[in-house]
């Protein structure tokens, strides 16, 4: 098992280097000289040259990349153009918010998708099955930036149950109730669009599992339908859902970008979007890099979970 873990971690290193190169290239496509941007329009030629030298911009491109990567390895993502704060510090403030809404949505989506999938597979073709499938189609087709706004209109304006956005109201001290109420609508929106995808997948997965030979054997042994369903079918149809998490993790972070924008929730997506609108490139590219690393770690986690759940993988 340890050997497998180490191998998977080593395998993700080239991908990490790859996304750092892509980020670096994008940084160089950014219009305008960074020194000129930092000094403003009154900069003299000598000032620019001095700052270029200080920033290392007069060195060959590959040296610049290595210098930048060296800084990156030390957790230095540069300084924001718009707030003059270190980007790393801004990311550290934002990342926990994103991970909590994505994490909670993932857990909720799993639970609902599993229950829904088993129920639908058991009652395949019934009115309930078809209704859930239709609702799923509709939610799956729903842009989260529309669904989120409808939630605000319905549950924060028309029926003021939840706050319309942010992480706490102005002047409000932080406690569990405040945290929970502000997080509810973003989490529900992100969960629903995710369930629409996963539930459909889970239904098919259980249907496929139920026709396997070992299920017939279990039934032939005289096991009750309950035991067959929950001990044999359920556990085996979970495996594809773990793979699905690896696939969907990037999508969840994309969903988080829109969710945080709609609900003004101060996570990575909102930080990234506001930086993009202000052309604050160090922050834009710093957050992009961290999002990429998060996706790779998410995929790694999914692979490791899969290896835990399925012994066949480890011995390959």
């Amino acid at each position: 098992m340890l050997k497998y873990v180490v191998r998977r971690i080593i395998e993700s290193i080239p991908t990490l280097i790859g996304i750092s190169i892509i980020t670096f290239i994008l940084m160089h496509l950014v219009p305008g000289n960074p020194a000129l941007v930092m000094l403003g329009s009154h900069a003299t030629q000598a000032n620019i040259a001095a700052l270029d030298h200080q920033l290392g911009l007069d060195k060959p491109v590959y040296v610049q990349y290595l210098l930048w990567a060296w800084q990156l390895l030390h957790g230095n993502l540069g300084t924001s153009f718009s707030t003059n704060q270190p980007v790393t510090q801004m990311v550290w403030q934002a990342l926990p918010h994103t991970l909590s809404i994505v994490g909670i949505s993932t857990v909720l989506a799993y639970v609902i998708a599993i229950v829904q999938g088993i129920y639908q597979a058991k009652n395949k073709g019934s009115i309930a099955d078809n209704t859930v499938t239709s609702v799923g189609y509709f939610l799956y087709s729903m842009p989260i930036y529309w669904l989120g706004n409808l939630f605000i209109i319905w549950f924060a304006i028309a029926l003021p149950i939840f706050p319309p956005g942010g992480i706490s109201d102005p002047g409000q001290s932080m406690n569990f109730v405040v945290w929970f109420s502000h997080m509810s609508l973003p989490v529900i929106a992100l969960t629903l669009v995710t369930v629409a995808f996963w539930g459909r997948f889970m239904r098919q997965s259980v249907i496929d599992t139920l026709v396997q030979d070992y299920i017939r054997t279990a039934r032939a042994k005289g096991l009750s339908e309950r035991v067959v369903l929950y001990r044999h079918a359920f556990r085996n149809s979970l495996l594809p859902l773990i793979t699905l998490f690896g696939f969907s993790f990037g999508g969840l972070l994309a969903g988080a970008l829109f969710t945080e924008q709609v609900f003004n929730y101060p996570g990575m997506g909102l930080l990234f979007w506001q930086a993009a609108l202000h052309r604050d490139y160090p922050t834009v590219l710093g957050t992009t890099m961290i999002i990429g690393i998060t996706v790779i770690l998410g995929n790694l986690l999914a692979d490791l979970l899969y290896a835990v759940a399925d012994p066949r993988i480890r011995y390959n």
């Binding site: 991908t15 790859g18 087709s141 529309w146 409808l150 924008q261 992009t288």
Partner: protein
């Protein structure tokens, strides 16, 4: 030599016949599927609404009716007006043209790029294949919308550039599918037979690979059209993307939600519904294609 050509021809005619018969069976399965009918109907409605609509409904999309600002639906403006008095119905009709065109074009260009990439990767094999596929993994690590926002903030794109940048962030799936298909086709008897008879790369490509990968490509492209409409609308919603001087659905939605506290429902529901309909239409159609082309799925619910 002549005998070889003849054998090749007979073999190919036989295969072509088989394919033609196969295709018609697939199309019959397709049209029996209620999802296909619904998908085609929804998409036909959207196309007629966007292109035929302006022929009958003459109110220009950008003309501000200063007497009716932020007006709910009235006979003069069946879907009301926005904050500057522009007509919502005609905004949606004209906006539909741009949204659907960009979505369709981006999906098709992305599929072409992906199909060529996957084909080259599978055909060359070896270390180049490994590197090309590793590159796919890398580009998938950063969610497309983040890359799009970055590229968008650098370029300030026009619609044609928009098609290009959406397509270069959405070709990876089809590249993997085509590579996988070609890798398995390469070792099939009928391809080896064709190669042994001296059929060139181009001929194998057009006669053997293309007909066999067309099904997955059509399925994938259909889903991509919806995805690209969602993406291009999402970028406009974020205040980026297509230039704001021409209407598009994402822009209408973005303008509409600014008036949510004024209870301006006619600005918020119709544009969102248009995007949902285009997603529903392409998803229904994609599922119907998938069920028709994948024999394992036939007769499954």
């Amino acid at each position: 030599m002549s005998a070889q050509v003849k054998l090749d021809d007979t073999l190919e005619t036989g295969l072509a016949k088989e394919e033609r018969r196969g295709l018609s069976r697939e199309w019959r399965a397709f049209w029996r599927n209620p999802l296909a009918i619904s998908g085609v109907a929804i998409l036909a409605f959207l196309v007629l609404f966007s292109w035929l609509g302006p022929v009958f409904y003459h109110t220009p999309p950008e003309f501000p009716d200063v007497n009716n600002i932020l007006s709910p639906p009235i006979p003069l403006h069946p879907l009301g007006t926005d904050g500057v008095g522009a007509d919502v119905l005609s905004q949606l009709m004209w906006g539909g043209q741009l949204s659907l065109e960009v979505g369709l074009a981006a999906a098709v260009v992305g599929s072409v790029i992906g199909a060529i990439y996957g084909l080259v990767s599978a055909e060359t094999g070896g270390w180049l294949d490994t590197i090309l596929m590793r590159f796919v993994d890398i580009t998938l690590a950063i969610p497309a919308i983040y890359l799009l926002v970055v590229i968008d903030s650098i370029l300030n794109p026009n619609p044609v550039a928009m098609i290009f940048i959406i397509s270069i962030t959405s070709w990876q799936g089809i590249a993997r599918i085509v590579r996988g298909q070609v890798l398995s086709l390469r070792t099939q008897d009928f391809v080896e037979a064709a190669r042994a008879e001296g059929a060139g790369t181009w001929r194998i490509l057009m006669r053997h690979y293309l007909p066999n990968v067309m099904g997955p490509i059509i399925v994938y492209t259909t889903f991509s059209v919806g995805g690209a409409i969602l993406t291009v609308s999402g970028l406009s919603y974020l205040g980026l993307g297509l230039p704001p001087n021409d209407p598009n659905w994402g822009l209408s939605l973005s303008n509409g939600v600014a008036y949510m506290f004024q209870n301006a429902w006619w600005l918020i529901y119709p544009p969102g519904l248009m995007i949902v309909l285009s997603m529903l239409g392409t998803n229904f159609l994609g599922d119907a294609f998938n069920a028709a082309f994948d024999p394992r799925l036939r007769g499954r619910g």
